[in-house]
């Protein structure tokens, strides 16, 4: 502890500083005994480092808590400290670059790493791989009669794996959608019939986008019969 080196016991102020620093050091040692860290690097589909990507851990247990994001540096490296012992998924995202939140199964191909931290293995190093980049769905929802915009809800589902879906009721701007795969789109709003109608789902509501492509979809929905 270098701080002790600077401690001057003959000075009252220094004594206080020394004690304070000493306490901090003691607390650090205590935390170190209970917490570990996850570090690593984020790379894209071309194995290039991704800077300013957000990385987070997710408990694999009953969770009612917020997500703690850390940001990668210019070389794509990150480090998450003060992590309690346990098993975690390690996810990343950089949505403005077309890389969605891997924590959603809808986007994830199960390639995200899992780590287990313990006193015997307090630090783990992982590589998070992004890609391929998503396309975007720009959707507008309006009342079929009045033409007024409606704040509706979306259900996005992979056509080839319906277990991977994402329900969304609040969003702004285009929504990332996996590229080069068929995505079934369903639109709903309270008091309105969903779109597309069930009888037309085989032919309507499926989109496919290329990486970086923006797919515009204007949906007009009708009020439900009372």
């Amino acid at each position: 502890m270098t701080t002790r080196f600077f401690c001057q016991p003959l000075l009252i102020i220094g004594v206080c500083f020394c004690l304070s620093s000493g306490m901090q050091a003691q607390m650090s040692r205590t935390k170190a005994a209970r917490e570990g860290a996850v570090k690593g690097r984020v790379v894209d589909e071309n194995h290039a480092p991704v800077a300013k990507a957000e990385v987070y851990l997710q408990d694999q247990r009953l969770t009612i808590k917020s997500i703690r994001f850390v940001e990668t540096n210019a070389a794509g490296y990150f480090r998450i400290d003060h992590v309690a012992w346990g098993m975690y998924w390690v996810f990343g995202r950089k949505e403005d670059a077309g890389y969605p939140d891997q924590g959603f199964a809808f986007y994830n191909d199960s390639r995200s790493p899992k780590v287990t931290l313990s006193p015997s293995s307090p630090v783990k190093t992982v590589v998070i791989r992004f890609g391929p980049r998503c396309g975007k769905l720009a959707i507008t929802i309006t009342d079929a009669i009045s033409g007024k915009a409606i704040q509706g809800a979306l259900m996005l589902r992979r056509a080839n794996d319906p277990r991977k879906y994402l329900g969304i009721t609040a969003w702004s701007g285009p929504i990332l959608v996996p590229s080069n795969t068929d995505i079934e789109v369903e639109v709903g709003a309270k008091g309105y019939d969903s779109w597309p109608p069930k009888t037309a789902r085989a032919t309507e509501g499926t989109i496919r986008v290329k990486p970086g492509e923006v797919y515009s979809l204007a949906v007009r929905i009708k009020r439900s019969n009372p």
Partner: protein, 887 residues
């Protein structure tokens, strides 16, 4: 006995007492020898419906009502001297009813006893009287209770010994139904006293039938009286002997001489006098005149009022608000034309000036005045036509009769007649310098009756009249009216209620008010006269009260002052107690009459640097100068020379006009705040919201500069800031302690949890906002949760993980965070199991002073998640963007 030496009793316990000031700059024509004896005069014809609220006696009011006035002799009685109705008649044709009114604000009682012509006395009942209450007693019932069979006699009234002044006024109504048509005569209660003389006088209008006169003795000795009637130039004298406390009834103008001269004079007006050889003030007299309507043959009676000529203070007689034309006459009745009967008892001729003052009721302007001059020979009586004194319906006329001979020698009576019933109305006369400056009258609106106060200022200058309308248990309505010289004015109580006319304090009489008491007074004698007229459109009833009292200011009531701010003005009202004092204002004390507004007051302040005050009457205007407390004094006075003080403290509060900035952020230090305003003085004390402390302060009278620290323990939200200067606190202005106050939904998503196929996960991104609606200071802040969960129904049952302050989880740079709710495993059973979330308080950690900015509740199941009632799936049930979550 000298009245001014009578012991004065404590009437009301108040902080302030009145004092007598011998002289005032205000002129007074009132002579100190003036009497203030109570007289109740009234006029009534036909039925007067007395509401039950007045009738506190078990005796119902008889058919009939108050009618023709009878001025009993005025006198200066001893407080304990009983009063007397000189004549009652119960002969089968005429019946009598006594009405007693407690004109004081004190509870009392009256006792009635009956005397016959021989002077025998029968004690009778005691009648309790609440303040301002009225009781009516049918004399027939009274006689029946006593087992008496009397046709004539007198009634003596004694009041509670607890009252120190005669506070009970009364009248006796004679109802004549002999001809099948009812007519009425009113008889006032007389209060003889040792300061009265040995004479009584009256004037009778012309009548076609004999008049009757009753003379009653109050003496324990035999009295020999001479009764004189002068009519048509013929004078008749009768000598009668009255036994102790006895009575004689005579027809003084009927002569045994049946000559043509005597017969011709039978229809002329008459001058009547009664003189005794007994002690002073031991007689009372009352008479009735008898008439026949020429066209219908209906008979009716009139009244003769006898007054001690020595009781007059002036040679001017006043008739206030004459009933004439269709003005102040019975509703739905005919048109009345007026005449005046005049009698001169002096041995010299009198020059008489009859001045008529006509006022437009619409605007109070005097529209006309004219004077009739006549010469009245010595020892004579005449009757002159006055015509219609109110040619327009909205006009009111009052009359002043002035003579050039000493007071008490000229008597007058105004009679107004119509061709239909009621055939005759008689107008009361008052001495212009009557010592009574007020009245107390019961009013009613029952049976569609109208109650109108008629006021007349007989003086040569404008005068304030104090009006108080009391409705028991409801309101005391007070107003001071200024009435111009010789102006007559009516005040309709029905209109006041219907038009919601506010009094001087902004109060109105409730619409439900149907009866009560009306009181009025002027500041001194000779300033004005008034009477209350009650009329019904249904039965031609016509009832006039003009009971008079002397009201002197006797107590000031504390001023009810609040707190004003610097630069603000407040209207204050001084209130005084007025006592009934028949001594003419020599003592400034008496029995409590009522509380009202003073006409005159000098307003003073103890510290004009704190507050100034201005005003000349009941209303004072206080103006705040600087923070502090000043004592305001209203020195109230009347024109009798009585003074009372009303005082109170007014707090002048400093005023805050602005605070800049208007908010401080929680946890901030060394923030400078400027409080603008005035009246701060040099050492103000500033009160700030809890948790906001002053590090330094400087102040001028108009600005305070503070450096403040706001701890994390402060309460987020609006708090009050006030400044106290010289012990008085300012208005409170708002200072916002800003901080996280709520959050809104940015993104609400759900899908399978990582690695899951069936169990779902819900992620919601929230934006935190300050209570001010901004997002400043919310980025990179440590947040945590205070969570309460129920029993986990899953197997295996896991313990939920949530954020703690120690964990150091922070918001994003823009103040957002993403919350994840999920059971995170497909390996749970049974299907759909989960855990209820009782509450999930999201908080800023704030160094151990957590502040909740959003509260969630719901449940987490494997297949559905409920947040604040938004249950997904289905996907469309999620929270919309912008959904607000409060703490």
């Amino acid at each position: 006995m000298h009245i001014s030496e009578a012991p004065s009793a404590p009437i009301r316990i108040t902080a302030l007492v009145s004092r007598y000031i011998p002289t005032r700059t205000h002129s007074t024509r009132f002579r100190r020898r003036a009497v203030g004896a109570i007289i109740c005069t009234s006029i009534a014809t036909t039925l007067f419906p007395v509401p039950s609220v007045y009738s506190q006696s078990s005796t119902p009011y008889p058919p009939g009502g108050y009618r023709i006035p009878v001025h009993s002799r005025t006198s200066l009685p001893m407080p304990s001297t009983p009063s007397i109705f000189p004549l009652f008649i119960e002969d089968g044709a005429i019946s009598s009813t006594v009405t007693l009114i407690n004109s004081s604000g004190l509870s009392t009682y009256a006792s009635l006893s009956v005397r016959n012509a021989a002077g025998q006395t029968w004690d009778s009942r005691r009648y309790p009287l609440a303040p301002h209450a009225t009781v009516q007693i049918a004399v027939a019932d009274l006689l029946r209770e006593m087992g008496l069979n009397l046709q004539y006699g007198s009634i003596v009234v004694s009041q509670s010994s607890g009252l120190h002044r005669p506070s009970i006024v009364g009248q006796l109504t004679l109802a004549d139904r002999a001809s099948g048509f009812s007519s009425y005569a009113e008889e006032e209660m007389a209060m003889p006293g040792i300061l009265d003389s040995q004479s009584l006088r009256s004037v009778a209008e012309a009548a076609d039938r004999s008049l009757q006169l009753a003379v009653s003795s109050m003496s324990a000795q035999v009295q020999h009286v001479n009764i004189r009637c002068t009519r048509g130039g013929v004078t008749l004298n009768r000598q009668e002997t009255i036994p102790p406390e006895g009575q004689v009834i005579v027809q003084p103008c009927d002569s045994p001489d049946t000559s043509a001269t005597a017969a011709a004079s039978a229809t002329a007006p008459a001058a009547l006098s009664v003189t005794t050889d007994g002690p002073n003030g031991q007689l009372a007299a009352y008479g009735i005149t008898r008439h026949t309507n020429a066209s219908t043959g209906n008979e009716f009676i009139g009244a003769l009022q006898f007054i001690d000529p020595h009781s007059f203070n002036s040679s001017s007689l006043v008739f206030s608000g004459v009933s004439s034309g269709t003005s102040l006459t019975p509703l739905n009745a005919g048109e009345y034309r007026s005449e005046i009967a005049l009698a001169n008892f002096a041995k010299s001729a009198a020059h008489i000036a009859i001045s008529v003052y006509r006022t437009s009721a619409a605007d109070g302007n005097q529209v006309a005045s004219n004077t009739i001059n006549t010469l009245l020979p010595p020892l004579s009586a005449v009757q002159l036509p006055l015509g219609n004194l109110a040619p327009q319906p909205d006009q009111i006329s009052s009359v002043i009769v002035t003579s050039d001979i000493p007071p008490g020698n000229v008597f007058a009576k105004i009679i107004s007649t119509a061709d239909t019933a009621p055939y005759q109305l008689e107008q009361l006369v008052k001495d212009s310098l009557d010592g009574r400056n007020g009245g107390s009258h019961p009013w009613t609106l029952a049976d569609d009756s109208s109650s109108d106060l008629i006021l007349f200022n007989e003086s040569d200058s404008a005068q304030p009249f104090n009006i108080a309308i009391e409705v028991p248990g409801m309101v005391e309505w007070e107003k001071t009216l200024t009435i111009l010289s010789h102006e007559s004015r009516t005040l309709s109580i029905g209109d006041l209620i219907a038009q919601k006319v506010a009094d001087d304090r902004g109060r109105v009489i409730p619409a439900s008010a149907k009866a009560g008491t009306l009181l009025w007074h002027t500041a001194g004698p000779g300033e004005g006269l008034g009477r209350l007229l009650i009329r019904s459109p249904n039965d031609l009833s016509f009832h006039s009260f003009s009971c008079g009292q002397t009201y002197v200011i006797c107590n000031g009531e504390p001023l009810d002052l609040g707190t004003i701010t610097v630069g603000q003005q407040e209207t204050a009202f001084a209130t005084a107690d007025y006592c009934i004092d028949y001594t003419g204002g020599l003592q400034c004390t008496g029995d409590y009459g009522y509380s009202g507004l003073p006409q005159y007051a000098d307003w003073l302040t103890s510290d004009s640097n704190v507050a100034t005050v201005s005003g000349s009457g009941a209303q004072g205007t206080i103006y705040g100068i600087s923070g502090g407390i000043a004592t305001i004094d209203a020195s109230m006075y009347d024109l009798f020379g009585c003074v009372a003080d009303a005082t109170g403290d007014v707090g002048v509060a400093p005023q805050i006009t602005g605070i800049s900035p208007s908010s401080v952020y929680i946890g901030s230090n060394n923030v400078q705040i400027t409080i603008s305003g005035n009246g701060f003085g040099t050492a103000p004390s500033v009160s700030l919201p809890s948790g906001v402390t002053i590090a330094s302060q400087s102040a001028t009278d108009s600005q305070i500069t503070l450096t403040v620290n706001t701890s994390y323990s402060a309460t987020i939200g609006n708090g009050d800031v006030s400044v106290t200067a010289s012990g008085v606190a300012s208005n409170a202005e708002t200072l916002l302690v800003d901080g996280p106050g709520y959050m809104t939904v940015n993104l609400d998503t759900y899908g399978p949890c990582p690695g899951c196929s069936t169990t779902i996960e819900r992620r919601v991104s929230y934006q935190i906002y300050n209570v001010s609606g901004t997002t400043t200071n919310l980025g990179n802040q440590v947040i945590s949760e205070n969570v309460s969960v129920g029993t986990n129904s899953c197997t295996p049952a896991g313990t939920p993980f949530f954020n703690t302050c120690a964990e150091g989880r922070t918001t994003s740079a823009s103040g957002t965070f993403t919350d994840v709710w999920s059971l995170q495993s497909d390996s749970l059973s049974p299907s759909g199991c989960g855990v209820p979330i009782n509450y999930d308080h999201w908080q800023m950690c704030f160094n151990g002073n957590p502040k909740t900015f959003g509260t969630l509740s719901g449940y987490v199941h494997t297949n559905s998640i409920n947040i604040n009632g938004y249950v997904v799936p289905p996907y469309s049930n999620g929270m919309s963007a912008g959904t607000r979550i409060n703490p």
